[in-house]
């Protein structure tokens, strides 16, 4: 059996919901982003139905770029720099030749975003792939399909989440156990997961449509869930936590 690491009875620091960066660009792009993502997906939908593996791979690249861009533009990066980079500079350092805006952007946002992408690939895809199989994905066939489905879900959820929360174990425990307060990023996760789960509903229907094939409905559900979760999480439910009983 696994060892149970008991959390010491520490006073719980309630995590605060994440706010979108306070720049005009961030405030604008956060609304454009889901529309853009859904448009890309809708644009590729027919070719995904026709040829899932190729089209999903192509879409994946675009989605990866968009998600990295979204994280870099709109979200506060993780790590010690919980605050935007500009505030971090100490007064003394300022004089030693401030880093160029490009360099600070690279250090503060581009690198975390890139790391988030890498993590989403090396950790997110295998974990979500296994989860998909546990939830009923085909096990002896359709390997690429399942992997691509996992990749899409991973890119939709893990890139922004890792970008803001990093790899801190206790935060991820809170993420899994639904204890984190809901915000735009966490809403994306819940929405995407619920959407993917509900996406399985049309598969057994006897409509005999091409799009009922694995994993198209799941990915579609994930995208719709992403958009819904993001907007609801950023507005209506912001700051609330999911209650358990």
């Amino acid at each position: 059996m696994a060892t149970v690491v008991q959390e010491p009875a520490r006073p719980r620091v309630p995590s605060a919901p994440i706010d979108i960066l306070n720049t005009d660009l961030a405030k604008l792009y956060t609304h454009i982003h889901p529309v853009l993502l859904l448009s890309v997906y809708a644009f590729k939908f027919n070719s995904i139905v026709e040829n899932p593996v190729t089209a999903l791979s192509e879409t994946l690249v675009a989605v990866g770029i968009l998600q990295v861009v979204f994280s870099a533009i709109c979200l506060p990066p993780t790590g010690g720099s919980a605050t935007p980079l500009g505030d971090k500079r100490k007064p003394g350092e300022k004089k030693k030749g401030a880093p160029s805006p490009v360099a600070s952007a690279v250090n503060g946002t581009v690198i975390p975003a890139f790391l988030a992408l890498v993590l989403a690939i090396i950790a997110g895809i295998p974990i979500l792939g296994v989860l998909l199989v546990l939830f009923g994905a085909p096990i002896s066939t359709h390997w690429e399909h399942t992997a691509l489905c996992a990749a899409h879900i991973s890119f939709l959820t893990a890139i922004p989440l890792t970008y803001v929360h990093g790899v801190d174990g206790s935060t991820w425990r809170e993420i899994v156990s639904l204890e984190l307060p809901i915000d735009e990023v966490y809403g994306c996760l819940i929405g995407t997961m619920l959407g993917a789960w509900l996406g399985a509903v049309p598969i057994p229907l006897d409509w005999d449509r091409e799009w009922q094939k694995w994993p198209i409905t799941i990915v579609t559900g994930a995208y719709i869930g992403f958009a819904v979760g993001k907007s609801v999480g950023g507005t209506l439910l912001k700051g609330k936590t999911v209650l358990f009983g």
Partner: protein, 929 residues
């Protein structure tokens, strides 16, 4: 009684009332007209002089009726068929081929009824098919062509019958000579047929019979085992063809068989998987061939190409209804059409009579007989002989009954007219009426008793409301409660989607996966496991994934790869399967041994004075093992012996000597030994625990060990009722039970888990909402002769084994029966920091122990559990009833929704009342000892 208990009791009493009321409206009992039909005086005698001319001369005086079970049309007519002689007869014109449409349910007994009476059997015959001895389902009192043949020539008709004993049950005392075969082991491809064939040569020489009926089962068995493309299929067709050749040659050569009509018919077809019961084109398209040298007269201009190409799926040559066989035989053999017939005389045969007045008389008699049924169905409409305004179009605006009345008045008009018209016109008018009547009367839509449907649904809804008010109102916002509501709600909605009724397993698999993942998320709140992939909930999810892969079921993905049909268990690697089965029996035997050892030691593991739990010693354990080992071993040997006979492909890797020995064992006796052993141990355990509980002080509380012992004994019974290839699943169930006891589940969560897993395992064991998926193989264990109650109970246990298991596990989890009582003295625990974690853990254990023990003594906990299960079952029943009522005109009503209702009946009455409430209640009560 507390109002809550009263509500719950009432709800449970209302469930069977609702189910039966609805069934009475949904499957209306069709009154049949008793007595034998006779040739009655016909109208328009003055014009046609029928009385003087007499009834049309019969063309045949003998009948050989050969039924080949599951003889699908393409097995005779198709390109790959092995029946070359029959095909050559078709080319010669001595055989007239048809595709005879069989209505759903496509199983043998209703089909035999349709063939012999010409009626469309009601759906209730499905149930009667499984309770065959029910005398109401025999056809002894009904008008059939068998009864007519016996009555012919002043009651001198003689019948002989060889083959499927369904005929002997349907027609008791009808046959001069008979030899019934039963389809007990589907793996028997040859014996069942040889037992029929060996009688044929002798009977062909006998002159005393008027009709010989044969019913071959081998082809159906091959279909069930290996599908329509199996390696034995073509050889079997060749064998059947050679019998056709023997009989046809005898008809050609023997003088006394000169006027013999030879009919070869399938009772139903089979689907791609080799099963039947539903309404796929393959299942509803059996072959029907009429053979006689005399038929060359009428086949000159018919389609005689053979092998032929099908028009639609499995539609070869002309398509007729299966019920058409009865009136056609009546005309050809010269007896009155059976009273309840809805069939139509097949047109091709009219031309055996040269005189048009004979042809018209045949059809008119058919029409008069059908009209009587129509008249009885629509008593308010006019079906008399007065000529009214003749309408040429009986238009769309009319109701079904009015259309028939209109068409009948057309018949009256054209029969009565004195104008000289071509006989062809009269014949078409008669067919116009007959075919319309057949179609209208076959679709029973008009026969629903809607008021009973509504009443039944309302009663079920009342039960639902009562169950709802019997529940304790807990916190207003519990996630488990939401999940429960969501399950019920989604289930209710999905019952309206025909594909989800067919693929119901997907819903339960999907819901259960989500539930286990939720349990993981919930558990993550309390403790984070560094190895979270080994968290009990994740392992549960993993085991669930294996379970759902075990058997593919439903319609759409029925043929997809699964574990049972993989090479893992087949052929030489069946050793793997039998090792797993052995492990399962070993596990259950060891558990039983522990219980018996405990009883031998006379210990109820009470805490010793030092707080230590006393264990049984080695000697006692040995005695326990010795006591139950024979039981476990017998049960295992029975399973092996049964499987050698029933599914030999699963035992190929086993040593031959052992198999030979196992095959020679007497199964009924073995099964009785197993059941007797289980009963014996049960009696012993109950006796022991009863004494132990009386010996205990009133302040002391038992451990609920008896419930665990009985559960293990019942599991052994369920395993005995399970097909060999599914037995390893019980190892998975055992692991899941173990893991669930690790999770800190609330009472509601326990009820929900047992519900979800019960439904999941129902489908994972290979069942679905199709009649064809019902497994009959284990329902005769230990039964010789026929006993409706025993067979019914065994049938239910073998098909509902998974749900029964999980219903009982739910009871055990709820009362944490048999959990080791450590009686931790929480006050004395070391309070220093470094043991804080350990201390917390122990306190929690102690709390859970206390909680479980308290719950065990609390009838309220049991009431809440039953309340939730009642809420679900009544809600689900309401949904199924609503779906059946709203969709009663739906195309799939007889193929999807009616079977689902039959299953809902079994869930509501058999599983909920019988298992959840009665059996579970017994277990709960015995657990309080």
């Amino acid at each position: 009684m507390a109002p809550q208990s009263l509500h719950l009791t009432l709800a449970n009493l209302l469930i069977p009332v609702a189910i039966l009321t609805f069934a009475a409206g949904f499957f209306p009992y069709k009154p049949f007209m008793p007595g034998l039909a006779t040739f009655e005086e016909l109208r328009w005698d003055d014009k046609w002089d029928w009385q003087r001319r007499g009834t049309p001369e019969r063309k045949f005086d003998r009948l050989v009726f050969m039924v080949v079970d599951a003889l699908r049309s393409d097995f005779v007519y198709g390109n790959g068929s092995g029946m070359e002689f029959t095909q050559s007869l078709i080319r010669d014109g001595a055989a007239l081929p048809f595709t005879a449409h069989a209505t759903s349910p496509t199983i043998t007994m209703p089909r035999v009824k349709a063939i012999t009476t010409g009626s469309i059997p009601s759906f209730l015959d499905v149930i009667l098919n499984f309770a065959e001895s029910d005398t109401t389902s025999t056809l002894a009192a009904q008008d059939t062509w068998l009864a007519q043949l016996r009555a012919q020539d002043g009651g001198k008709g003689r019948l002989v019958m060889y083959g499927d004993d369904t005929w002997l049950k349907l027609f008791p005392g009808f046959f001069e000579r008979q030899d019934g075969t039963s389809s007990f082991f589907v793996s028997d491809f040859t014996e069942v047929d040889n037992n029929v064939t060996r009688h044929v040569p002798g009977e062909l020489l006998n002159t005393d019979w008027n009709a010989m009926i044969m019913h071959y089962l081998g082809l159906d068995h091959i279909g069930h085992k290996t599908g329509p493309l199996g390696p034995n299929m073509i050889p079997k067709q060749v064998e059947m063809d050679s019998i056709v050749r023997d009989i046809y040659t005898a008809i050609e050569n023997e003088e006394h068989l000169e006027n013999t009509l030879f009919v070869l018919a399938g009772d139903h077809g089979m689907n791609e998987g080799g099963n039947h019961g539903g309404s796929a084109p393959g299942e509803t398209s059996p072959a029907l061939v009429f053979m006689s040298p005399k038929l060359k007269k009428i086949t000159e201009f018919t389609d005689r190409t053979s092998p032929a190409e099908p028009k639609g799926e499995f539609e070869y040559y002309k398509k007729v209804e299966q019920s058409d066989i009865a009136p056609t035989l009546a005309g050809l053999l010269g007896f009155p059409v059976p009273r309840n017939n809805l069939g139509v005389f097949i047109e091709e045969f009219l031309f055996l009579w040269d005189d048009a007045s004979d042809r018209i008389q045949l059809l008119l008699r058919n029409a008069e007989q059908v009209k009587k049924i129509v008249e009885a169905t629509y008593p308010n409409l006019y079906f008399g002989y007065d000529r009214k305004d003749f309408k040429t179009d009986c238009g769309q605006s009319l109701s079904d009954g009015e259309k028939l009345a209109c068409k009948w008045s057309g018949v009256v008009d054209i029969m009565g007219t004195f104008a000289t018209i071509h006989p062809r016109l009269r014949i078409s008018q008669l067919y116009w009426f007959l075919r319309a009547a057949q179609e209208t009367m076959s679709t029973t839509a008009s026969n629903y008793d809607v008021s009973k449907l509504v009443l039944g649904t309302s009663i079920a809804f009342a039960a639902f409301s009562l169950a709802f008010f019997s529940l304790n109102r807990t916190r207003p916002f519990s996630f488990t409660g939401i999940f429960f509501t969501l399950t019920l709600l989604l289930y209710g909605v999905l019952m309206f989607a025909s594909s989800y009724v067919e693929e119901e397993q997907n819903f339960w698999y999907w819901m259960t996966s989500a539930w286990f993942f939720y349990l993981f998320m919930q558990a993550s709140r309390e403790a984070w496991q560094s190895w979270f992939i080994f968290h009990p909930a994740i392992v549960l999810l993993f085991l669930h994934r294996i379970t759902r892969r075990w058997n593919q079921t439903g319609q759409k993905f029925a043929g997809a790869p699964d574990i049972v049909h993989s090479s893992l268990f087949r052929g030489s690697s069946s050793v793997v399967l039998w090792s797993l089965i052995g492990a399962c029996y070993m596990d259950i035997t060891m558990r039983l041994a522990r219980h018996v050892a405990r009883s031998v030691a006379g210990k109820d593991d009470p805490p010793g004075k030092d707080g230590k739990v006393e264990e049984t010693n080695e000697g006692e354990r040995l005695m326990g093992m010795m006591a139950v080992f024979p039981l476990g071993a017998t049960a295992f040997v029975f399973k092996l012996a049964f499987t050698v006979n029933d599914a030999p492909e699963l035992t190929r890797g086993i040593a031959h000597g052992m198999l030979y020995w196992a095959a020679s064992l007497e199964l009924v006796g073995l099964a009785r030994m197993v059941f007797g052993g289980i009963a014996l141990v049960t009696g012993w355990m109950v006796l022991y625990e009863w004494r132990a509980s009386r010996a205990r002080m009133s302040s002391e509380q038992g451990n609920g060990n008896l419930a665990v012992s009985l559960f293990d004994l019942f599991t052994l019974f369920l395993i005995t009722q399970t097909k060999a290839e599914n037995i390893p699943l019980y190892l998975i169930f055992r692991m899941q039970t173990f893991l669930l006891s690790f999770l800190d589940l609330s009472p509601t969560a326990i009820s929900l888990t047992s519900l979800l897993l019960g439904q999941t395992t129902f489908f994972a064991l290979g069942n679905s909402n199709a009649i064809s998926s019902i497994d009959l193989s284990n329902s005769y264990n230990g039964v010789s002769g026929y006993n409706v109650l025993a067979v019914g109970a065994l049938l239910f246990a073998s098909n509902w084994a998974g749900p029964i298991y999980w219903s009982l596990v739910g009871v055990l989890l709820l009362g944490s029966h048999g959990r080791k009582q450590r009686h931790i003295a929480t006050g004395e625990l070391d309070a220093r920091d470094w043991v804080a974690v350990e201390r917390e853990h122990l306190i929690k254990l102690a709390e859970r122990e206390k909680e479980g023990a308290e719950r065990r003594q609390d009838p309220g906990a049991w009431r809440q559990h039953v309340g939730l299960l009642t809420l679900f079952i009544s809600g689900a029943t309401v949904a199924v009833m609503l779906a059946c009522t709203v969709l009663r005109q739906h195309l799939f009503i007889w193929t999807v929704f009616s079977p689902k209702y039959l299953f809902a009946m079994a869930w509501g009455v058999g599983h909920h009342l019988g298992v959840d409430v009665l059996l579970g209640g017994c277990l709960w009560w015995l657990g309080t000892w």
